[in-house]
């Protein structure tokens, strides 16, 4: 909106001012900047030559060239030829909002350590080939935006100068459900870098995730994900995790704790932290933590008790359709069993279990489900059964041993010659 407002005023104004000089100025600059012969003579090396080469036909197709904006509109310091090294262009003279946002963002602020500015307008938008962001050929077009981000963020050397170690995130993102939605499915609605990292979705207003104003900061990431995943976010907010989180408790999980960050995958993806075989591990990352269980007075050994159950054994054997944590407790709207709306409230168990086991009897709610062994629940009876069988099995072994011992006694002591034993 800001850009188009600026354009609406500035572009016609410039057109009026510069119209008479347009053709002549452009031709004048091109005499050197588009001429191989001249560049070879003037520039110290080919790299320097490439930096100052401007192809007038390319420029004419750019958003600025098409609007008739001439070289000196931006390069105001150039008044005569030959000229000194050009000063950096101040894009903010026209794009005031964008320049202000960028200057205030992590990209525009000089880095604390070195004083270097991480990124300029041209780093993302290019210099002379700038196209409108909605133009598929633009360097910041949604479908290919990750490439321009990756030029820095996948460059370990460059990121190191700004104290950043993670240079895998673009690659990770491309393999995520979001990245695949963008590339494999070609969905323009798939979130791109700036959708999540831009404050309010504004590409120029990016801050580090650790900064509380970043939409990807743990404090607010649920709201950011919720911009698209509205229903899921609301479910989470109603569940025990979301309710606690909203009241400021940071021990409870938000979106990224279970789903990952750049790597967020569909739950059908085997690499997802909430893929059926991984759910128990993901939940147990907190629910098997002694400090948390003690702090919130939660039952322990949730993962172990699940793994020992039929569901857990079957799941470990590759049977993906059996129940995992989510099947009974829900995914986002998880409520404690004491909550009457909880899927595991005793009154709701028949319905919950009945989703997989139609017609299950109400007996299922009479007795504990999550037990590391049945001994926890039916201690005395289990103890009796256990010893009953231990004694019988032991008795059988002794019985077999006694038969052999008696035989040995007869054949070695009573009747050493083995008289009368020759069965047919």
């Amino acid at each position: 909106m800001a850009k188009s407002t600026v354009g609406a005023f500035v572009v016609p104004a410039l057109l009026v001012v510069c119209l008479a000089r347009t053709a002549t100025t452009q031709e004048y600059c091109s005499a050197c900047h588009a001429s191989n012969a001249m560049l070879r003579r003037l520039a110290p090396d080919s790299a320097a030559a490439e930096r100052v080469r401007v192809d007038p036909s390319h420029y004419a197709h750019s958003v600025h060239g098409a609007a008739g904006i001439t070289c000196t509109t931006c390069h105001r310091d150039i008044a005569s030829v030959p000229h000194d090294a050009a000063q950096p262009v101040a894009c903010g003279r026209c794009h005031a909002d964008a320049a202000r946002d960028l200057a205030a963002s992590v990209h525009g602020r000089p880095f604390n350590g070195s004083g270097a500015v991480p990124a300029t307008c041209a780093d993302c938008h290019t210099s002379h080939d700038i196209l409108h962001p909605t133009d598929p050929a633009s360097s910041v077009y949604r479908m290919t935006q990750f490439e321009i981000c990756a030029t820095c963020h996948s460059d370990a050397e460059r990121m190191a100068t700004f104290g950043q170690e993670n240079t895998e995130m673009v690659r990770t993102y491309l393999h995520s459900v979001h990245g695949r939605g963008l590339l494999a499915k070609g969905l323009t609605v798939a979130p791109v870098c700036t959708d999540c990292h831009g404050i309010g979705g504004e590409a120029h207003r990016i801050e580090q995730v650790a900064d509380s104003v970043s939409p990807m900061n743990r404090d607010g990431v649920a709201d950011a994900c919720g911009r698209c995943h509205v229903g899921v976010r609301n479910q989470w907010a109603r569940g025990v995790h979301g309710r606690e989180f909203t009241t400021g408790n940071r021990d409870v999980p938000t979106c990224t704790d279970c789903h990952g960050e750049h790597a967020v995958s569909a739950i059908t993806d085997t690499s997802s932290g909430v893929f059926p075989t991984h759910v128990a591990r993901t939940c147990a990352a907190c629910h098997d933590r002694e400090d948390l269980n003690e702090k919130y007075d939660l039952p322990t050994a949730r993962a172990a008790s699940f793994r020992g159950s039929f569901h857990g054994v079957a799941l470990a054997s590759g049977e993906l359709t059996v129940a995992n944590c989510e099947s009974c407790h829900g995914a986002h709207e998880i409520r404690p069993s004491s909550d009457s709306l909880s899927t595991i409230n005793p009154n709701n168990l028949v319905a919950t279990c009945g989703r997989c086991h139609p017609g299950i009897g109400s007996g299922v709610s009479m007795g504990r489900v999550h037990v590391t062994s049945v001994r926890e629940d039916i201690n005395t009876l289990a103890w009796i059964i256990q010893w009953f069988y231990a004694l019988i099995v032991g008795g059988i072994v002794l019985y077999g041993a006694a038969l052999i011992a008696l035989d040995q006694y007869r054949h070695r002591v009573v009747d050493p010659r083995r008289k009368g034993h020759h069965d047919g």
Binding site: R307, G308, F310, G312, V313, A314, A316, S317, G318, E319, H357, P358, G359, I360, G361, S362, G363, V364, S365, M366, G367, R368, V369, V371, V374, D377, I378, L381, A382, I385, Q386, F388, Y389, I392, V393, I396, V397, Y399, G400, L403, I404, L406, D407, Y409, R410, H411, V413, V414, D415, R418, G420, H421, H422, D423, G424
Partner: protein, 243 residues
């Protein structure tokens, strides 16, 4: 006038049919179903045992276990019918029933093995050990079928009982399986493989035949009955008594 007796050398040639084909086939089916049940049940008793061979292996395990269980239920029903409705089934089942004589035979057996008496115990067709093993199988099969069906149709069972009943069934099914495996292996190992005079294996489960010598020495009361029948047949046929 002496009564008829088989000649001593003929004792090895003559035989009696100890197990009819119906009994043998029941035994074979029991072997197969029990083997399948033990193998396919083990991964639940000891999670993580065995290789994860193929995708869907666990579902196949469940299917195979239930199929074998269903066959075993069918076998049990057949056995009940056979034992009640057929002449040979009724006769063998009657011989299998424990009596007071079994206790006396057992005491006799121990005294014989210890050298206190010279004559071996006068067993009938089935000795006390065989009766014990048969009744163990009957008992074990009933327990396994009841607890197995409880787990198979737990949705229904939970309409009638609280969950701990199901938990007990799970517990018992596992322990009873261990017991059955131990008992079958150990007792078979002794009675039909390692026992002197039987080693390396009694063949009666294959052809159903037992030599009259074995009958005479190990099942004297059954031998006496056999002798009576032979003599009766001979007198009916008008055969001359031996000199």
């Amino acid at each position: 006038m002496a009564e008829w007796q088989p000649y001593e050398p003929d004792l090895d040639q003559l035989y009696v049919v100890r197990f009819t084909i119906a009994a043998r086939v029941q035994h074979y089916v029991l072997i197969v179903t029990m083997t399948v049940l033990l193998i396919t049940g083990l991964p639940l008793l000891i999670p993580g045992i065995g290789p994860r061979v193929v995708e869907g292996g666990f579902a196949f395990r469940t299917f195979a276990h239930r199929l074998a269980g269903a066959v075993m239920i069918g076998l049990s029903l057949f056995h009940v019918g056979w034992a009640l409705l057929t002449r040979e089934g009724r006769r063998d089942f009657t011989f299998m029933l424990p009596t007071l004589q079994d206790l006396r035979d057992l005491v006799h057996f121990v005294r014989y093995q210890l050298g206190k008496v010279d004559e071996p115990p006068p067993y009938d067709k089935f000795d006390p050990f065989e009766k014990f093993e048969y009744l163990s199988v009957v008992w074990g099969t009933i327990v396994m079928i009841v607890t197995g069906l409880t787990m198979w149709f737990f949705e229904f069972v939970l309409r009638l009982f609280p969950k701990w009943v199901y938990d007990v069934a799970v517990l018992i099914h596992g322990y009873e399986a261990v017991l059955a495996f131990t008992a079958i292996i150990l007792l078979h190992l002794y009675h039909v493989h390692l026992k002197p005079g039987v080693f390396p294996m009694s063949r009666v489960w294959l052809d159903g035949k037992m030599s009259v010598r074995h009958l005479k020495e190990h099942h004297p009361r059954a031998y006496a009955r056999w002798l009576e029948e032979q003599r009766l047949q001979r007198s009916r046929a008008g055969a001359p008594d031996p000199p």
